[in-house]
């Protein structure tokens, strides 16, 4: 890159809307020392490079979409959106007769006056005009019809002249399969405008000084004849090349477009479709890819007669078409057609006089060379083998480290080997970039003092551009941060339960790109209703290389769901997934959504496909006991000075005190909590069983407290419970309702022949029936596990009174039967009836939950 360090000079800044200018419509042209510039707004600026100041600002009634300068005739043609084409005479003495609004009270010399362009300057009023090009004495306009594009040919109107309707010399409809977006007549601004340019045959007397990129170039005769046919060649007629937003690339022989006025031309005879890029065409140009010296020798005439031998067209997403004439094996002249993929989205492009094409994306300005075979310019490699004169098989864009250039123009009259570009950036900066791209670049070792001075200058001038680049990158980072912040905010707005998963690689192998961690969060939609399948959310997190021993932490929200209810228990299961399809597909088309901020519609499809490898990792159930919080225990904790505590307290305390008086929420839940007796449930376990189960871990602790510690083992509050040896706690469920856990020792009589059984009763109380059920469910789950373990150890239960057990069993059977019938009735009854049934059902459930049985 050392050789092609650009030297950027800022010339002027132009006003730009918030968020920067948009691509597609800004234009910049240069003639001698004057720069003509439009930024996509309704102004056209004339800037004097020598004096470094604005000399004129023209204001048009609507957005300016295109500029073209006829330098010899000193006429500037301007396409104004939804108005038509204006022609300004650029005579220095006789400016266009216009009303100078701000001249009355201001010194016109000091500040450049804004000249409101007179409606009389409109030479071709047409509300549907989308593109035009002026060539010699004709003007070609592209008009958006209801279903098709229409190309119209006019005699070129002079400044101050009307384009008489009689001036319409020819007309033809371009056959497009897809009609242009948006109905005509509606004020919709098209995203992409068609591109028109005029291709002249070799030797035609095009006025010299026709600036390149201003809509015209010459092609050498073999390519010209091949592309446009024998008629165009014989007639030496210019050809209008047209690139449409739907990707079609077609051409019309200008001399053939002349039609009798009574009938528009026959599209089949006049329009030839050259190619279809399948993405909006943003640029068309021509290059000289044959080695210059060779070509100059071949045509001994003069160096200027070396015509372009390669036609290029660029699509918005970077698809590039290059066409050259070549001879096939049997000696026929055939078109060599190649498509390349350059980084997109392409904002603009320009061709230098030689074989280089510059194209700009939001992140960089790149140069490709179609003669060097696309080898990066700095590497001095021989030409690729193959037929000389063929197109390179691959293009390697070389970065010039200039970003967000919206429009480019190659300045003429630069010293040989150098290229100077005139560019306008997204921020409205007009700058020139001088690129030293001569092939015989001095090596970096030959650094003389002069060189050093020059180098420093270049570096300094480079800083300016770097700042712009930085600002672009910063913008991207800001956007990302903003997105994350708002995501965080959205999460913090609600009281969200977060789960943290830790993925640790204990193996000796590293997990490479392509693996995704899938975390499935499965909620039972209702813990009470076991039949219903819960809802599942799957999070997929791509694992970007996880080396041996390293770990990755992922935090996810567990709920509440959209209904606002957190359905506990929640099961979290983790799997590692390797999608073959995605990896293979990703290798083919790498796409980073951040690289492409202009394409909102790009789907970010990261969901794993079916085709892949799946490794289940672990499965964890989160229940009510783990989610309970104990604010009543917190003061104890707060008394000990906590280093993290005071950080946010001033505001928090204030808010807390403000909220305190009105904290009595008046919701139905609160009312119920206040006035209704809490729902309760209890479980009894024999002391013996519990002791056996807990003796390993909680020996020496009172049994009630040990039981509570055992239940809350996975809760953060377990330490406090242990420290204070609590046997009952008042907790808060995630939805804010109180849950009371009470553990006490009881003696159960009647059950055993040997006498009363010592047992532990665990009682759950809550004002919310649902939370009580969830807690009960969680306790039962733990009991089940414990009983299973103890049964495996083979402890023997004491003798029981079988008769009594039978009695209880029969009672339960009856209750269960009643439950069944009540539930059946619920389905069939009307509202009033079902209410009563539900009441009864609740009672039965309550009875069932308070069994007289003990787990032994």
């Amino acid at each position: 890159m050392a050789g092609s360090e650009p030297r950027v000079h800022y010339l002027a800044g132009f006003s730009c809307p918030l968020g920067g200018l948009t691509s597609g419509k800004p234009r910049v042209l240069c003639h001698e020392e004057e720069v003509f510039l439009s930024t996509g707004s309704e102004f056209v600026y004339v800037y004097d490079q020598e004096g470094g100041l604005l000399t004129a600002v023209y204001q048009f009634p609507d957005q300016v979409w295109h500029l073209q300068l006829l330098a010899l005739r000193r006429a500037l043609y301007v396409l104004c959106a939804r108005r038509g084409i204006y022609c300004l005479s650029l005579e220095p003495r006789r400016r266009w007769s216009s009303s100078q609004t701000s001249e009355d009270n201001k010194d016109s010399e000091a500040s450049s006056p804004v000249i409101t362009v007179d409606p009389e300057a409109c030479v071709l009023p047409d509300t549907t005009l989308c593109a035009f090009t002026v060539h010699d004495d004709v003007l070609v306009a592209l008009v958006q019809g209801p279903a098709q594009w229409k190309m119209q040919l006019f005699e070129r109107p002079r400044p101050g002249e009307d384009c008489q309707p009689g001036g319409l010399v020819g007309e033809v409809e371009l056959s497009t399969s897809t009609p242009p977006a948006g109905p005509p007549g509606k004020a919709t601004v098209p995203c992409f405008l068609p591109v028109l340019c005029c291709v002249s045959p070799p030797g035609s007397k095009v006025p010299l000084g026709h600036p390149q990129g201003c809509g015209g170039f010459m092609l050498e005769k073999a390519l010209f004849g091949l592309l446009f046919g024998a008629d165009a060649t014989l007639l030496e007629s210019p050809v209008i090349l047209c690139g449409l937003p739907d990707g079609q690339l077609c051409c019309v022989v200008l001399k053939a477009l002349v039609t009798s006025q009574s009938a528009p031309g026959d599209p089949k005879a006049l329009v030839k479709i050259l190619h279809h890029l399948e993405e909006p065409v943003v640029f068309m140009g021509a290059l000289k890819t044959e080695p210059q010296a060779e070509a100059a020798v071949e045509s001994v005439l003069s160096c200027e007669d070396v015509y372009s031998d390669c036609l290029v067209a660029l699509g918005h997403h970077g698809r590039t078409l290059a066409i050259k004439a070549s001879w096939d094996k049997s000696g026929n002249l055939v078109p060599e057609l190649r498509e390349y993929c350059l980084p997109g989205p392409v904002l603009c492009a320009a061709c230098s006089g030689g074989s280089r094409m510059y194209h700009s994306t939001p992140s960089d300005l790149c140069v490709v060379d179609l003669a060097l075979g696309g080898i990066p310019l700095n590497s001095e490699q021989p030409q690729p083998d193959g037929v000389p004169g063929g197109l390179p098989p691959l293009l390697c864009p070389a970065s010039l480290s200039i970003c967000s250039v919206l429009t480019l123009s190659v300045l003429p009259n630069t010293p040989a080997g150098d290229t100077e570009l005139l560019a306008l950036s997204t921020k409205g900066c007009l700058m020139t970039c001088r690129l030293e791209l001569s092939s015989e670049m001095p090596g970096p070792t030959r650094m003389t003092t002069e060189n050093t001075g020059q180098k420093i200058k270049e570096l300094l001038s480079g800083i300016g551009d770097v700042s712009e680049r930085v600002s672009f990158l910063k913008k991207a980072v800001d956007q990302r941060n903003k997105a994350l912040t708002s995501l965080n905010e959205a999460m913090n707005l609600q009281d969200v339960l977060m789960a943290t998963c830790l993925l640790e690689n204990h193996s000796d192998f590293s997990l490479d790109q392509g693996w995704t961690l899938c975390i499935q969060v499965l909620t039972s939609s209702s813990a009470l209703d076991l039949d219903s399948a819960g809802s599942a959310v799957t999070y997929t997190i791509p694992v970007d290389r996880l080396g041996p021993g390293s770990q990755r932490e992922v935090t996810l929200p567990l709920g509440p769901s959209e209904s606002g209810v957190l359905d506990l228990p929640v099961t979290v299961s983790c799997t590692l997934f390797y999608s073959l399809k995605e990896v293979v597909g990703g290798a083919l088309t790498p796409s980073d959504p951040l690289e492409d901020p202009f394409l909102e519609e790009q789907p970010l499809d990261l969901l794993p496909e079916q085709e892949g490898i799946c490794l289940p990792l672990s499965r964890q159930t989160v229940d009510m006991l783990q989610c309970l919080r104990f604010p009543s225990l917190a003061p104890l904790c707060a008394r000990t000075p906590c280093p993290l505590g005071p950080a946010a307290d001033l505001v928090d305390t204030f808010l807390e005190t403000c909220r305190a008086p009105s904290s009595e929420v008046a919701g139905p839940a609160a009312l119920r909590a206040k006035y209704l007796p809490p729902s309760t449930a209890s479980i009894r376990v024999s002391t013996e069983l519990l002791r056996a189960a807990l003796e390993d871990t909680h020996s020496g602790v009172p049994l009630c407290s040990a039981t509570l510690q055992w239940l809350l083992a996975e809760n953060a509050a377990v330490d406090i419970v242990r420290a204070q040896a609590l046997s009952s706690v008042q907790g808060v469920a995630p939805d804010g309702t109180d849950v009371h856990l009470i553990v006490r020792e009881v003696a159960v009589t009647d059950l055993c022949l040997a006498g009363p059984i010592q047992a532990v009763e665990i009682q759950v109380e809550s004002s919310s029936l649902a939370d009580m059920c969830r807690a009960h469910h969680a306790i039962v789950r733990r009991m089940q596990t414990m009983v299973m373990e103890q049964a495996a150890r083979g402890s023997s239960p004491p003798d029981l009174r079988v008769q009594y057990l039978r009695q209880i069993h029969a009672n339960h059977e009856a209750l269960l039967r009643e439950v069944q019938t009540l539930r059946d009735r619920l389905c069939t009854e009307d509202e009033a009836g079902s209410c009563a049934t539900a009441q009864r059902l609740l009672q039965v459930y309550k009875q069932l939950r308070s069994p007289s049985l003990v787990l032994l």
């Binding site: 209801p146 024998a230 008629d231 002349v258 009574s262 009938a263 002249l333």
Partner: protein, 626 residues
């Protein structure tokens, strides 16, 4: 507007309606003034402004809930807006359909017949509105105007079924008996507008008349193209007898002339054409039709004269044809642009110029033909006249063929040197497109569309150059050009006849035939030169080869017969003679007809002078004992 309004309850509303009313009337008056006085871009801009004004009033009206007292005004403004917009853009677009639909929905809103979310098509909307309109007698005049616009839209977009159904509803005749569009239009009588009514740009009756003319004319032209001539005649006469402007009348008369000529009534056709001429404006298709008529009658002088007039007319009328329309919606807006199949299609100036030149060539007026061709080429190649385009529009010849025809005409007119220049020009401009090595004909076929012709043009140019040298009596040059031509022609191999004969298009067959005949022509021409220099054996070779290449071509056989006779090779000569006697002339006739003009005319030069005498002489010599 300056009227004082009392702070009453109803007064402000009334004044608001008046305000809108006055604005409509003012804008309509303004538009009529602009139409009568202004022209060009200025007129367009002014009309654009008036349209903007109408749109503003319309938007404020549509912003309010639809109400019966305001509806006539609203619909009137909608109609004015549509009329002006169509007049500005010179045609109907989908926008107008939407405007009409919007207006109809507003009518139904007042009748509460428009259910929410009910999407009716235009046809159903009209049915509903017209059935509801009996409840709203005040609305009837403007509804008829709107229906007229709808009819014009459907006519110009060729939705004739919808159009007929709308007219049936308007006429109140639901019987299936009257499906005749013209009859329906004639029976439709829109109610006359009251004198105190709102100003409108164009009334329903005028629209009805325009619709009638346009429908009759369109129908007549369609029938003319499909060949049902008696029907076309009556439709066109209907159009001629209804209201139409002069320019439309000229068109109708021309179509009538065309129709009558095709019906074999040249005198009546001529009367119509003369009547059209009397209408004043000179119109291209009229002159073209006249030339066709004269051609059919065999009056070459008159035919060529009218063609000459036509080329002049075309170069003039284009500049002057921007006549400003005086009516907003006129018949012209409802007619389609004539496509090449239409009898009213006339083509461009260069196409007519080429027609004139080639007719001169065909009729043997070599001097004129040469002049016309040179004019044509000068205009095409000069480029200073941007209004001139090549005649190459299929099925016409392509540009290289025009060059070849020009060269041929020049040789015919004894201007061999000029012919050489034209050929030189053609060669210098196309030679780089030639293949570098011989190749198979099949490859040529698969190449780009135009490539197969390229060698043919180039070799034909050499052929003509040879003939020019013949005329200049430079035998050596002539023979070398013929040889060069043959060399190029034999690089192109004819394809294998066995395959793909049916699948190939006409273009391919024509190229094959042209190739064969070009070879034969070159061989015969070279043979004739050999004979002129006394090298009879060489000539014999060439003639033999040409007979082999083009077995059906009699000219080659005659030359062969003559040479064989001269060389006294009687057996071979009699074999050729027997073949010539066999009655199989037809294929050749057909073949030459499909050849390009330059080749067809070329064969006239190398045609043996008196074939019949030769055959007879030979017959008598056969009878003589050896």
């Amino acid at each position: 507007m300056s009227r004082q309004t009392l702070p009453g309850a109803s007064a402000p509303r009334a004044s608001c309606l008046d305000l809108w009313r006055e604005k409509n009337d003012r804008l309509v008056r303004q538009a009529k003034g602009v139409m009568a006085q202004e022209c060009g871009v200025r007129r367009q801009q002014l009309i654009q402004n008036i349209l903007q004004g109408l749109k503003e009033v319309l938007l404020s009206l549509q912003g309010l809930p639809a109400a019966v007292p305001v509806l006539p005004l609203e619909l009137t403004i909608t109609c004015n807006f549509i009329i002006l917009r169509v007049s500005l853009t010179r045609g109907f677009t989908e926008d107008q359909a939407q405007d009409i639909q919007q207006a109809l929905k507003r009518v139904l809103e007042t009748q509460e017949r428009l259910g929410p979310g009910l999407e009716l098509g235009l046809r159903e909307l009209w049915d509903t509105v017209l059935h509801a309109s009996c409840l709203l007698p005040d609305l009837l005049p403007v509804l008829h105007l709107l229906a007229g616009l709808q009819a014009a839209f459907w006519l110009s977009t060729e939705h004739l079924g919808d159009l007929v159904s709308l007219l049936q509803t308007l006429n109140g005749t639901q019987s299936r008996a009257s499906e005749d569009l013209l009859l329906l239009l004639k029976t439709w009588s829109p109610p006359a507008a009251e004198s105190s009514a709102l100003l409108i740009l164009q009334d329903a009756r005028s629209l009805r008349d325009i619709l009638l003319t346009a429908s009759a004319f369109r129908q007549g032209l369609q029938e003319l193209i499909t060949g049902s001539l008696p029907k076309a005649l009556s439709s066109l006469q209907e159009a001629a007898s209804s209201m139409c402007s002069r320019s439309v009348l000229v068109q109708v008369y021309t179509a009538l002339g065309n129709c009558l000529r095709k019906m074999g009534k040249p005198q009546r056709a001529l009367l119509y054409l003369i009547a059209a001429l009397k209408e004043g404006s000179v119109w291209g298709p009229l002159l073209l039709e006249a030339s066709r008529l004269y051609r059919q009658q065999g009056d070459t002088t008159a035919e060529l004269e009218s063609l000459e007039l036509l080329t002049e007319a075309l170069s003039v009328t284009q500049a002057h044809s921007s006549k400003a329309p005086q009516v907003f919606i006129e018949v012209e807006l409802l007619l389609t642009q004539p496509d090449p199949a239409s009898p009213l299609h006339c083509g461009t100036q260069s196409q007519i110029k080429h027609l004139l030149a080639s007719r001169c060539l065909q009729m043997g007026r070599a001097e004129d033909a040469a002049e016309h061709y040179l004019d044509l080429l000068a205009l095409l190649l000069d480029g200073s006249e941007p209004r001139f385009s090549p005649p190459s529009c299929p099925p016409g010849p392509c540009m290289p063929e025009v060059f070849l025809e020009a060269a041929l005409a020049l040789i015919q007119a004894s201007r061999a040197q000029d012919a050489l220049t034209v050929c030189e020009e053609l060669l210098s401009r196309t030679s780089f497109l030639l293949p570098k090595m011989p190749r198979l004909w099949e490859d040529v076929r698969r190449g780009t569309k135009e490539m197969p012709h390229c060698p043919l043009w180039v070799s034909a140019a050499h052929l003509l150059q040879g003939q020019a040298w013949v005329q200049l009596r430079t035998q050596k040059e002539a023979v070398s050009e013929f040889s060069r031509c043959l060399e190029l022609l034999f690089r192109v191999m004819p394809e294998d006849k066995g395959q793909g004969a049916a699948s190939n298009c006409e273009q391919g067959c024509r190229s094959d035939m042209t190739l064969q005949h070009l070879r034969a022509a070159a061989l015969i021409s070279r043979g004739l030169e050999w004979i002129a220099s006394g090298q009879d054996t060489k000539a014999l070779q060439d003639f033999l080869l040409s007979v082999q290449i083009c077995p059906g071509h009699r000219d080659a056989s005659f030359h062969l017969l003559q040479t064989l006779k001269k060389l006294n090779r009687k057996d071979e000569a009699s074999a050729v003679w027997w073949k010539l006697k066999a009655p199989t002339q037809l294929p050749q006739e057909e073949a030459t007809r499909s050849l390009p003009l330059y080749l067809e005319a070329y064969f006239n030069w190398i045609h043996p002078p008196d074939c019949e005498t030769l055959l007879e002489e030979f017959q008598t010599s056969l009878a003589e004992p050896c």
